[in-house]
Symmetry: C2
Subunit: 440 residues, 2 copies
Amino acid sequence: MEEIIEPRNLRGFRDSLPETESRKLDIQEKLTRVFRSFGFVPIDTPAIEYAEILLGKGGGETDKQVYRFLDHGQRDVALRFDLTVPFARFMAAHYHELPLPFKRYHMAKVWRGENTQRGRYREFIQIDFDIVAVDSVSSDFEIMTVMAESMRALGIRAFHVHFSHRHLFNELLQTMRLDGQFLPVLRIIDKLKKIGAEQVQSQLDELAGEKHAREILDFITAGASNRGTLEKLASRLSDDSPAIARLRSICRCIEDCGLEQELFLDPSITRGLDYYTGVVFETFLDRAPDIGSVCSGGRYNDLASLYTKEQLPGVGASIGLDRLVSALEDLGVAGDQKTAPEILIVLLDEALVGACHKLAAALRSSGLSAEIYPSEKKIPVQLKYAEKKGIPLAIFYGEDEMEKDIYNLRDLQQRQNHDGLSFPQLLERISELLSRSGKM
Amino acid sequence: MEEIIEPRNLRGFRDSLPETESRKLDIQEKLTRVFRSFGFVPIDTPAIEYAEILLGKGGGETDKQVYRFLDHGQRDVALRFDLTVPFARFMAAHYHELPLPFKRYHMAKVWRGENTQRGRYREFIQIDFDIVAVDSVSSDFEIMTVMAESMRALGIRAFHVHFSHRHLFNELLQTMRLDGQFLPVLRIIDKLKKIGAEQVQSQLDELAGEKHAREILDFITAGASNRGTLEKLASRLSDDSPAIARLRSICRCIEDCGLEQELFLDPSITRGLDYYTGVVFETFLDRAPDIGSVCSGGRYNDLASLYTKEQLPGVGASIGLDRLVSALEDLGVAGDQKTAPEILIVLLDEALVGACHKLAAALRSSGLSAEIYPSEKKIPVQLKYAEKKGIPLAIFYGEDEMEKDIYNLRDLQQRQNHDGLSFPQLLERISELLSRSGKM
């Protein structure tokens, strides 16, 4: 007897079983439809790249998490840890052959050797969409509408896209002569949703003094309406503030499109990364606030400066598929995925295998999904299989039925038989039963 | 000035640009529909696994090609090089929680450090589908019908699934008392399509003598019909041959379902791998014979014997997506992929950004795809963008039109204007123009 190898996964890696995998694919399909309806096109990049490309200047926290190794040719390579860096390299390599501005979406796996004790996984799917080679109100606003439309397409009604502009703070701190404290202030503000206003105030007190701390906290508190918030912000900054001008134009688009209920100007949004230079956004689900932002992004000045002298400003956002799946499950809108076909043809007689396959093909031509139990076993075994797989209907088609050209249909959920049907009657009855059980 | 990093890919790795990526996604979508209509369900497994799991007993040619390295925890890990080994591990880990027999499909990237001089790539997408935990005529036949249905779904009309049974040779060589020469004979036969009958005969001469060589060559030559081939094979083997019995049942299914033109009994098919133990199949495109088999597989005795004592016989096949894309391109059925949206809204005035987005949203609610040029540039620049992206229609909607509540539509392919349309007229005209150009 040979030794058995334990069929285990690496820590932080999971198999995706049919139900979960169907959910993930369903989400990707719905988002694909949204992206395409806005004119975004799909791309893909290799999972493995030169480490030099992926790590760039390097030195960040991410570096330690990157899967990096020497390949067969002793090249220093790594697995991608996000979809932004490969996109930057992609744009530097291909911008001359693409229609510019370029709108792409990319759904793919990324890998990070994160600490699994915090419930993190080391392999996950990211969904990114960006508009590059343009800096405009329209593209800022478009990314926000794609975010909103994506949530709607997934059946999420109660959500808010919170947005702000990264330069508001630069301008505010300038008026306070606190320009030098920009990043520390930002880092404190960024913790607002986690640690609360009181904690933020006390940390700001230490950094900037009590008066400024109060002013900053007031500044980042959103008003009842976008317009109100905007005017409050404007009153604190100089008349020709470019950040206010951009936000004003965006707010006007929001009003023109009647999206005030969904797109919410929230000056407390900063996004931690130095990377962003204009609008920034995060998306929260009203009924699952603890899960944090399910779709975030912003505007950047120059996507691919590491790889090309061509300046490529852009705006984009990213969805973490795994977090989104959890959120949908929590909200009960993940849906009962159609992992199962609609019909099981019970195999009553090995001699009828061909006839059963012919019947299955006829059902499929009518747009149904059907499978045949693959060997002649006792009927209870076959029906148990249907139950375990979640197949709602079974057809019994033996020699007798074949001779008389009739079909016996069983509704496995209602435990009800519909016998002696002609083929057209069979199709009709199937369609009735499926629409009744909400399967069609 | 900082130094620029050259935005290059690793040898053997490619970016997938929008047109190619759309083609790949389109194929995957069509195949998904086929698999689901037969009751196959999707799974996924991690890209990275313990090297011990992926390489098993190891020592094969594949081992040298595997991307293998130490992870952050100094674990010996590797990237998957096919979807069969991870599936075996998956089944060993999960068979008790799955409905058995289990029918899965899996579309995912695999990596092999192959010699790129032979035009091979090191990252490619495989599409596998299997039925495990059953050994039956119905499941053998089902995999063949899925192969045929997949080709049809991709618009390929002229194809043949060639099939045979791996035990035919064992039985034939037994009658010749050449059992010991099984693998060498198989290896020579396997080269038939590459080196031709004459070369095969001369190599067989050396191995088995002229008489046997002639008999073997005659044995593997298919007749005009499946029935004829079957009877010829049967006449050479013992009456109770299990291989002939299985093939006879499969041929009966083929006749019952009227698939004689597509599923072709071809005793020269052997499949190189020791792995297979029953039926084997390959799929050839009549009009692209040089490309070789685009979908191959067979029956195996025991999928997961390395990882569990549970015996899991099965049957399955695998499609190489990249090879299939080339084949479809060669055949001219790859299709003009809808990488572009249907409508570009020309941005005539920055003040109208919101109104243009509102119009785009209305078009999308009507099931159309529409984008707005993202900044106010000269009209020729905007139309040039539409042309480069392949957008067929443009809408001009300025202040004047907004006031009069009308829309000017331009057919960019016919260079024809349709001006002064109301919104319902606009929708109607768009639908006419798109159906005329075959875009809907």
